[in-house]
Amino acid sequence: MSTTRAFAAASPPPAAGQRNESSASWRLIDRIGLAFAWFLGLLFCAVTAAMVLYLFVQGIKYLRPSMLVTNPKAGFNESHTGGFFDPLLDTVVISIMSMGLAIPIGIAIAVWLSEFGRPSALARVVESTIEMLAGTPSILLALFGTLLFEAPWLGFLSRTSGGVVFGRSFFAAAAMLALLALPLVVASVREGLQAIPSHVREASYAVGKTKSTTTRRVLLPAARPSVLTGSMLGLGRVIADTAIILLLLGNTLTNDGSGSIPILSMLRGTGSTLTSYIFYNAPTGDGDQPGKAYAAAFVLLLIVLALNVGVDLVGRRGKDLRWSS
């Protein structure tokens, strides 16, 4: 119903005496196909709704406000194992750190690919590298990260004892998570830049501006919605990842710092995020505290939903301010 109505709204009004086309006049096989498409679409909605509703119900049942401000504790049952303040804090910290890396690097790569891109052979290599990175399972990045950050010369980024580099820290995890977010940022920014008609660039050159001024003052501001969309998508990927957190953040339920300088100590140490907290507390996990897992999952779901709404709003805003090409 709604599709036919939407279609009618988008197309010019039908000529007088001609009714909207009804699927009743279609061939049988087409009608079966249409019914099947409807069925699958509704099934998909139902599955998603069930998942979200289930997590909502479970989350509301188990979530207590105190969980947001207390740390995980060792205990034998749910009333003794505390909350998830540190995982929540670490989720925020690790997101900021990895996006702080991914956004500037991603924008730089996108600008280079879209506006400069010479020599073109190098541009092609960079392009396929980014695409490959986008398809790499995060556990592979995590594994590579453990090799990299256990190298002696990167020892200052994590705990070191007796010449052995531990290799697990916020720095290590954020660096690898940034690689996860990078392809999404690059793709989105690049698309945004390429959507700007070439006459806009030329208009800037034609009043005596250099390519770099044009990029900074005209193109990037014009591509701002794409930068935001890409960042949000990348952030969603970072928040959702578990493998890198497990292998590179150490997966200690509370923060375990290294060194004496206040913030640096925390960042060089280990911790956990909401995803690894859920992983640990899930019924099949080591902790087996399902109530805590549901509560944390509920919070994570809220964050991800908020991000999706954010992407949607950002994507819509600024759409009306476009040039014709």
Binding site: A206, G208, K209
Partner: protein
């Protein structure tokens, strides 16, 4: 304005002769070109080969001819190639302040390429190469830094393309020097308003200079682009079909603006609209397949073209 070399100033007496003859009156007084020997029927133009001028060509030119002309640019034997394809083939013509030069011709005839050569925008196309010489106030433009040249020879495009910032910033963008500290808004206020006034936009936007430029109407956007192009006080203004994306009312406003601006800046306009060329241009160059077929005053080219191809084109036989 200060120039490197004082440009030659020329009183138009001889060159105006053909307009004078066609109009049957004196020239340079800017008034009274209404007279009897109209050539709308093609018989009065003296070349007697039966050319019928298009209906829009009337005895009375809508604008008075220019009173003075200052040579600004000289195109000498210019050829431009894209890869193997020749887009412009040994074209020579003068560009003068005080006159509007229109480039007309069918699509793909090289008029836009010629226009873009004038501020070296063709160089942005990787495959383009050019021969010949273009001078600006006697200096070969190949020896001028492209960014410096493009501040003196600015361009307005077919599609209105204000930058995604405020009206004020669109104009101020041009005035802000690169790689130096951005001047304060107050310092630029006067220059920005002057440029907007010259483009005839100030009265419409004065109250809200922080208005997003992309929220202006199409005609206002295009005048903002003209204001932007005028902000740096260029010697030459290039217009690439500036009205083809606009409604007739906006087109009229911009055409009037072009005529008004011609005494301060040399104007070259590419247009597909022959009537527009007749309305705004003092001189017209007709290009075909990369060659400049004919260069003459607007009245002459439309009513008494020398070349058969020009006749065919202006009378609508092709194009």
């Amino acid at each position: 304005m200060e120039f490197v070399t004082p440009p030659p100033v020329r009183r138009l007496t001889g060159a105006e002769g053909d307009i004078g003859r066609l109009n049957g009156s004196g020239n340079g007084n800017g008034s009274g070109h209404r007279n009897g020997n109209g050539n709308g029927n093609g018989s009065g133009n003296g070349n007697g080969d039966g050319h019928r001028a298009p209906a829009f060509v009337s005895a009375r030119r809508p604008v008075a001819p220019a009173t003075i002309a200052i040579d600004r640019m000289q195109v000498e034997d210019l050829s431009v190639d894209y890869a193997r394809k020749r887009a412009v083939n040994s074209v020579s013509l003068p560009i003068r302040q005080g006159e509007v030069l229109a480039l007309i011709g069918p699509s793909g005839c090289g008029k836009t390429t010629l226009l873009r050569s004038l501020n070296r925008l063709t160089e942005l196309t990787k495959t383009a190469s050019s021969e010949g010489q273009i001078t600006l106030d006697g200096v070969d433009i190949a020896t001028i830094e492209p960014t410096a040249l493009r501040r003196r020879v600015t361009m307005v495009f077919q599609q209105p393309n204000p930058f995604p910032m405020s009206v004020f910033d669109n104009v101020a963008y041009v005035l802000r020097e690169q790689a130096s500290r951005r001047p304060k808004k107050r310092v630029l206020q006067g220059d920005v308003e002057e440029a907007l006034a010259r483009a005839g936009l100030l009265d419409e936007v004065r109250d809200d200079l922080d208005h997003a430029a992309l929220r202006l109407s199409g005609g206002q956007q295009q005048r903002l682009c003209i204001a932007r192009a005028l902000a740096a006080h260029p010697e030459v203004l290039l217009l690439d079909e500036p009205c083809s994306a606009l409604d007739p009312q906006s087109t009229k406003v911009i055409e009037e603006l072009i005529v008004k601006l011609r005494k301060d800046v040399a104007i070259v306009i590419v247009t597909h609209n022959l009537q527009q060329a007749f309305r705004v241009a003092d001189y017209v160059a007709f290009m075909y397949l990369g060659e400049m077929v004919e260069y003459a005053s607007a009245a002459h080219l439309f009513s008494a073209p020398r070349e058969q191809r020009t006749k065919d084109y202006v009378s609508g036989a092709f194009g």
